[in-house]
Structures are given as structure tokens and as C-alpha cells.
């Protein structure tokens, strides 16, 4: 091997001393060629030519194809050098003999062959090696023209072939890759675009149908694709990305191919040359109009829901299953007078309720946890300590599995309703009382009247008339909420059924407010007097008159009924309920006295007392 290494190191020198030396040293006498001195001239000439060449060559000589080679070829033999010299070729290249033997034979018959990049599998170093060789076989003829040998000029082109194959492989892979990329781009619904390095110019845009194509470079691309109000913002983003020379993404509004408004998600990357300079920007833009609209709708729907929650005066809360507050609507925070919900978040909700409400709230939570909605009413303070009465509905919020996941509580402030209900209850109570009181009065009037009636007929008439007078007085009181009435109104209403002619009944006096009892009493008294006057007194003929007048002096009230022009008056035989009513009962309502005077020229009645029923005699 030392020899081989030395030989290798000397390749490139013009003289091939090493093989020449081996030719000199070789024991040719023991070979079919015999001593070198007796070699035919054509062989000597050929060997000299061969040994003098740097190009790998070998000569196959004679019927046994004895193998002769030069320094250039020695390398090709690997570990078979130098033992191959002078041996039959079949023994030198047994692995190739099957392929090459026939060609060699044909060369000996006079043919020439040239092979390029011929693949061979050699085992010259004890293992298989795939190699490629260019070689040319030429016949060597003697002076008689007989083929006596074969000259093989060869060169190892394995490195070149392998490089070629690698390049071909790389090209193939590139082609496949490009094909895939093209398919990918084709399969994608995204639009593709290229921009000049400074983005001033759009070079191309394949709109994929949803936005218009740009086939020729265009500097007014913004006007073509963007709405005027969006241009400044997009330009800023683009300029920042260009300055950084980094990929950028942007979702923005565009004019769609049909002119309507749409949204795209655009991503662009800078494409650089070998020197790192940006040659263009390549971008893809996905049509996200539908998603954007969905998001917009969701946002609108959320805003709508928020608005609903905020404008509702119901306190809408979401609790977790442990009844802790997790959400309270804006409107709810308003009615609950919450200034900072964070302070409340996580608080146990039932603790807001007092007394029975607290128990009801706990029961409602237990019910909601079991999946059943329920409601209750109770008192709870707002965060500012104002006591309110609430109508509360508590219901489970079911999860996807149908089990209660959270709890919804809606409380409505019904404090006013509750107060109105209570007021109504009081009013009903009061009405019942008044009705019973009125019934008691009716009972008293009926009993008193019947007690004195001389006949059923007289009793029935008197009862009807008195109850009718009572009813009219009640009308006045109803208008004034049962508490007071003006004396003018009381007199006018009472006298109305008794009026005979415009000027025969007259009254005058200051406006004066009477208590309910005084109004009823004066009404009944006036009714009695008028009834009596129509039967026996001033109103029983065509000329008589009745004059009523009243005044208040130094806090004292005085009312006068004066009849004139009637038939002569005779005092009655006995005093009936009418007289008692006039003199005692009505006077009592005024905390004063009533005096009936049977003056022959006409009945006179004077009532004195306290107006407005202020003082009660102790």
C-alpha cells in the first residue's frame, strides 16, 4: 500500500516512473508475453504511449487479454494494483467480466466502442462500489492488420454523475414542491397579491372572485380596494411594517368585487434577494366578511342584551350554586344602590334578606339547585340601607348536561305596590267601618221614625224621605272624601227636592266648612224643617217664604231658619223624632244648642255652636 500511496501522490507529474519501473521489474519471462525485448513492436509502441500518458489507460493483450495499465489507471484498480499487472483481465475484473467480456471480444474482432457515464459495480476494495466511467475500447492491430490487443482509454466520472444526479433530484424535489405550493395556492380561497417594496405600487392581485383582480402594476390600489375613511389607518400600519421589514397582519374593511363592503384578513411577508434587500411583498387575504358580520351581529346582540339588562329596573343577578353573587345587571345595581359591584361579588346572596325573607331566600336557592324555579317576596335593604320590598324569582340556569349550573335571581322593587296594597287594605277597612257607621245611622233613623209613626204608611214615607236626605248628604261627603263639606253645598242639595218657586226659599251666609257629622246633621235638620214647612208651614200655601242665614262671630256659629207668610202656627201636640233630631241631635254635632220656636207668624229655628266641630266639650 505504501507503494500505491506514493504512486497516488505523484499523479500529475509528466513522467510515470512508477508504472514504468514496475514494467521494468516485472518478470515478463514467466508470462505468455515473454521477455519485454521480444515483444512485438506494436505492443512496445502501445505500452510506451500508454505509460507516457497521464490519462488512465489500459491495454488488454492477446487471446488471454493480459492486463497492462498506466499510472492513471492504477488508481482505478484500488487494492488490485499492482498485482493486476500482466494477469488475464478476467481475473483482474471478475465482477465486470460478465458485462464487459462480450464487448472486449467484439473489439478483438475489430469493433470500437465508446461509453459515457457507464455504471459499473466494482469490488476492487473488498466491497461493492457504484461507479460511473467514460471509456473507449479501440482495437490494436499488428502490421498484418490482425487485432492483437485492445486499448481502453477511460476516466472516472462518478463524482460528476453523482453531482448531476443530486442536482436532478434537487430539481425534481423543487418541482414537486412548487407543484404542491401551486396546488395549495390554487386550492386556497384566499386572494394573493404582490406589492412593491415600499407598498406604493400593487403589482398583482388575484382576487379569487371576491375582490377585483389587478393584472398590471397600479399605484392607486388604495382607492380601488379601500374606503376613503379607512385609508389613513391602513397606511400607518403598512408603513410601520415596511419600516421594520417584518411580516404583518391586518383585518380591515375592503370594497368587494360587487362594490359592497366586506372584510379581509390580510397577511403579507417581505420577499428578499440574496443580498437581503426586499424585492417585493407577497400577501394573502382571506375573505372574513361573513365572520366579521357574525362577530358584529354578536357584538350588537350583546350590546342589545347589555342595554336590556341595563335599562331594566329589575335587579337581575347570577349566582353560583353556593348562592354567591357573580353578576348583577346595571339596572339592578341602580335599584340596589350599589356603587361598586366588586365589593359585593362573591357575597352570599341570602344574607341580604332579613327575617322571613332570609328563610325564603335559602329555600329558593335549595329549590333552584334541585332544578325547580320558585318565587317569594320579602324585605331587603339596598346598599345605602333603604328598606325595600321585593318580588323575587329564583330559577336554575341549566348547563349543557341539563343540570343546574348557576342560579338566576330576578328581584323587582315592589315597595310602592306593597304600600299601595297596604293603603288599599286600610281603605277597605275604613270603608267597611263607614258603611257600618252609616248602617247604624240608618238603623237609628228607621227605629226612631217607626217608634213615633202613627201608621205604617206614615212611617214608610218618613223613613224614605229621611234616608233620601241622608243619601244626598252622603253624596256631598263622598265628593270631599268623607271628611268635610261646605255649608252652601249642604243647604243647596238638601233644599233642592223641596223647592217650590225660585224666590220662596232663600239662604245667605259665609262660606264655611263643616265636619262630616255636622254636614249630615244640618242636612237632616234642614230636611225635617222643609218637610214640616211643606206640610204645615210657610211652604204649605202659595205665598209663604223660608229664609236661612248663618254667620260666625267670635268663633261662634249661628244658623237661623225663619218662616213667614205661612198659615198661623200652632205648637204641636207632642214632640216627634223630627223635633228631637232638630233640637238635640244636630245641636250635639255642633257642640251647641238648637231651639225650635213655634211663633204664630212662622216657625223659627236657631242653631248655635262651634263651626267646624273643632272643640270637644270635656
Amino acid at each position: 500500500m505504501t507503494l500505491h500511496a506514493k504512486l497516488g501522490a505523484d499523479v500529475g507529474q509528466t513522467d510515470s516512473l512508477r508504472m514504468a519501473d514496475l514494467f521494468c521489474l516485472h518478470d515478463w519471462a514467466s508470462t505468455p508475453l515473454g521477455r519485454r525485448e521480444i515483444w512485438p513492436p506494436v505492443l512496445r509502441t502501445t505500452v510506451d504511449l500508454m505509460l507516457g500518458s497521464l490519462h488512465p489507460m489500459c491495454v488488454l493483450w492477446g487471446p488471454r487479454r493480459l492486463f497492462l495499465y498506466n499510472d492513471g489507471y492504477a488508481e482505478i484498480l484500488g487494492s488490485r494494483h499492482p498485482g493486476a499487472l500482466g494477469r488475464p483481465t478476467e481475473e483482474v475484473w471478475p465482477e465486470l467480466w460478465g458485462d464487459l467480456g462480450p464487448l472486449i471480444d467484439r473489439t478483438f474482432r475489430g469493433e470500437s466502442f465508446a461509453f459515457r457515464d457507464h455504471p459499473l459495480t466494482m469490488t476492487r476494495n473488498g466491497f461493492e462500489e457504484q461507479v460511473w466511467y467514460d471509456f473507449a475500447y479501440s482495437p490494436i492491430r499488428d502490421e498484418r492488420g490482425e487485432v492483437v490487443g485492445l486499448l481502453n482509454v477511460t476516466s472516472d466520472c462518478t463524482a460528476r454523475v453523482q453531482a448531476q444526479r443530486e442536482r436532478d433530484g434537487a430539481i425534481e424535489r423543487l418541482r414537486v414542491g412548487e407543484g404542491r405550493l401551486a396546488a395549495l395556492v390554487e386550492a386556497s380561497p384566499d386572494s394573493l397579491y404582490t406589492m412593491s417594496p415600499d407598498w406604493q405600487e400593487m403589482r398583482t392581485l388575484h382576487g379569487r372572485g371576491f375582490i377585483a383582480d389587478t393584472d398590471a402594476p397600479c399605484v392607486r390600489w388604495m382607492d380601488a380596494y379601500l374606503f376613503p375613511e379607512d385609508q389613513a389607518g391602513i397606511r400607518r400600519t403598512v408603513e410601520a411594517a415596511v419600516a421594520r421589514t417584518e411580516p404583518f397582519e391586518l383585518e380591515h374593511r375592503v370594497r368587494l368585487a360587487d362594490g359592497s363592503e366586506g372584510w379581509i384578513f390580510s397577511r403579507a411577508v417581505p420577499v428578499t434577494d440574496a443580498a437581503g434587500r426586499v424585492t417585493e411583498w407577497f400577501g394573502m387575504a382571506a375573505d372574513v366578511t361573513a365572520r366579521h358580520r357574525a362577530v358584529e351581529q354578536l357584538r350588537e346582540s350583546e350590546a342589545f342584551m347589555r342595554g336590556v339588562l341595563a335599562s331594566s329596573n329589575d335587579c337581575i343577578k347570577v349566582l353560583d350554586l353556593d348562592a354567591r353573587l357573580t353578576f348583577m345587571s346595571e339596572g339592578g345595581q341602580r335599584v340596589m344602590e350599589v356603587s361598586d359591584f366588586n365589593a359585593l361579588e362573591g357575597c352570599p346572596w341570602p344574607s341580604f334578606w332579613e327575617g322571613a325573607g332570609n328563610i325564603a331566600a335559602r329555600e329558593a336557592i335549595a329549590s333552584a339547585r334541585a332544578g325547580v324555579a320558585c318565587s317569594f317576596q320579602g324585605y331587603a335593604n339596598t346598599m345605602r340601607g333603604n328598606r325595600r320590598y321585593w318580588d323575587v324569582q329564583v330559577s336554575p340556569i341549566l348547563g349543557a348536561d341539563g343540570r343546574p349550573e348557576r342560579i338566576l335571581s330576578i328581584s323587582r322593587d315592589i315597595t310602592d305596590l306593597k304600600a299601595a296594597e297596604e293603603a288599599r287594605a286600610v281603605l277597605v277597612q275604613e270603608l267597611a267601618h263607614r258603611m257600618k257607621n252609616t248602617l247604624a245611622m240608618v238603623q237609628a233613623i228607621v227605629t226612631q221614625t217607626l217608634r213615633q209613626a202613627r201608621s205604617m204608611e206614615e212611617g214608610r214615607t218618613a223613613v224614605s224621605q229621611r234616608l233620601s236626605a241622608l243619601g244626598r248628604a252622603q253624596d256631598i261627603l263622598t265628593r270631599s272624601n268623607f271628611t268635610e263639606a261646605d255649608i252652601h253645598e249642604v243647604i243647596a242639595v238638601t233644599i233642592d227636592p223641596h223647592r217650590v218657586a225660585e224666590d220662596r226659599i232663600a239662604w245667605s251666609g259665609p262660606s264655611l266648612t263643616l265636619t262630616a257629622q255636622q254636614a249630615l246633621g244640618l242636612s237632616l235638620a234642614t230636611h225635617e224643617l222643609a218637610t214640616n214647612a211643606a206640610k204645615y208651614g210657610a211652604l204649605s200655601n202659595e205665598t209663604g217664604r223660608v229664609t236661612m242665614s248663618w254667620r260666625v262671630e267670635d268663633g261662634a256659629f249661628a244658623f237661623d231658619w225663619v218662616e213667614s207668610g205661612g198659615p198661623p202656627v200652632a205648637p204641636p201636640e207632642g214632640r216627634g223624632f223630627g223635633s228631637k233630631l232638630i233640637e238635640r241631635i244636630v245641636a250635639s254635632y255642633f257642640d251647641g244648642e238648637g231651639r225650635l220656636d213655634f211663633d204664630p207668624s212662622g216657625i223659627r229655628f236657631r242653631l248655635t255652636g262651634v263651626p267646624g266641630g273643632t272643640a270637644v266639650e270635656a
Binding site: 277597612q429 267601618h433 257600618k436 257607621n437 248602617l439 247604624a440 245611622m441 240608618v442 238603623q443 237609628a444 233613623i445 227605629t447 226612631q448 217608634r451 257629622q517 246633621g521 237632616l524 228631637k580 233630631l581 238635640r584 241631635i585 244636630v586 245641636a587 250635639s588 254635632y589 270637644v616 266639650e617 270635656a618
Partner: protein, 129 residues
């Protein structure tokens, strides 16, 4: 009853602020044969009781103006004049036995006159000499 008694020996005090109702109650008692006094207010009633020890029955309305209502009057009377029997009436309240002095009787307004007369007679019979 079967027992003879003299209603005129039993005096009744009617306390009622409404003159009409008072007049009717007074007439009812008189008609039943009882000596009858009347008062508009509880304070008046106390003064009448102080001057007329013969009064053995208090027949009072509850709602009235003044320093006390009929219920308070009834309790005061039970305190000061224990033997005085007590009848109470009201159109406003349903009074329970617990509100009344012991042995007090309640009549809702408007009351049947006969019930009052029967109650008065029963009292008179009980306390007759």
C-alpha cells in the same frame, strides 16, 4: 228568667259620640225600662259615674274623641267600679274577648236592638236584689 226584678232600679250609662246613635241607644234602654244616662266622651262618662253610683251597666262605643277610647274606659270602669257590667260596641273593630274586661260583652255595629235589651235584662236579673 222567672225572677222578678225592677229595671228602673238598674241605671245604664250610654257612651256614644254620635248624637243620633246615642239618642237611639238611650231610647232603646229607656224603652226597656232602665234608668238611662248618657255621655259623649269617656271623660264625661267618668264624671257621670262619679255622680251616679246607681249606674250598674256601662254601654259604650269604642271610637270616640277625647283622652281615651271606649275600651280604655271599660277597663278604667272595671278598675274603679268593679260591679258595673260592661257592654261594648264598635263598627270599626272586631273586638276579641281578650281585649275586653272580664265579663264584658261585645256587639258589632249595627247591632240588633233586641240583643242589647236581652243582655241588659240578663244583667238586671243577675244583680236584682
Amino acid at each position: 228568667m222567672g225572677q222578678s226584678f225592677h229595671p228602673e232600679q238598674v241605671a245604664v250609662l250610654v257612651v256614644e259620640d254620635d248624637a243620633l246613635l246615642r239618642a237611639e241607644a238611650v231610647d232603646l234602654c229607656i224603652e226597656a225600662g232602665f234608668t238611662t244616662h248618657e255621655a259623649r266622651t269617656a271623660d264625661q262618662a267618668i264624671r257621670v259615674l262619679e255622680h251616679h253610683p246607681e249606674i250598674r251597666v256601662l254601654f259604650t262605643d269604642i271610637e270616640m274623641e277625647g283622652s281615651m277610647d271606649g275600651l280604655k274606659l271599660a277597663h278604667a270602669v272595671r278598675e274603679r267600679w268593679p260591679p258595673v257590667a260592661i257592654l261594648i260596641t264598635s263598627g270599626r273593630r272586631m273586638v276579641t274577648q281578650a281585649d275586653l274586661p272580664e265579663n264584658g260583652l261585645f256587639f258589632a255595629k249595627p247591632y240588633p236592638p233586641d240583643d242589647i235589651v236581652a243582655a241588659l235584662n240578663a244583667i238586671a236579673a243577675r244583680i236584682a236584689p
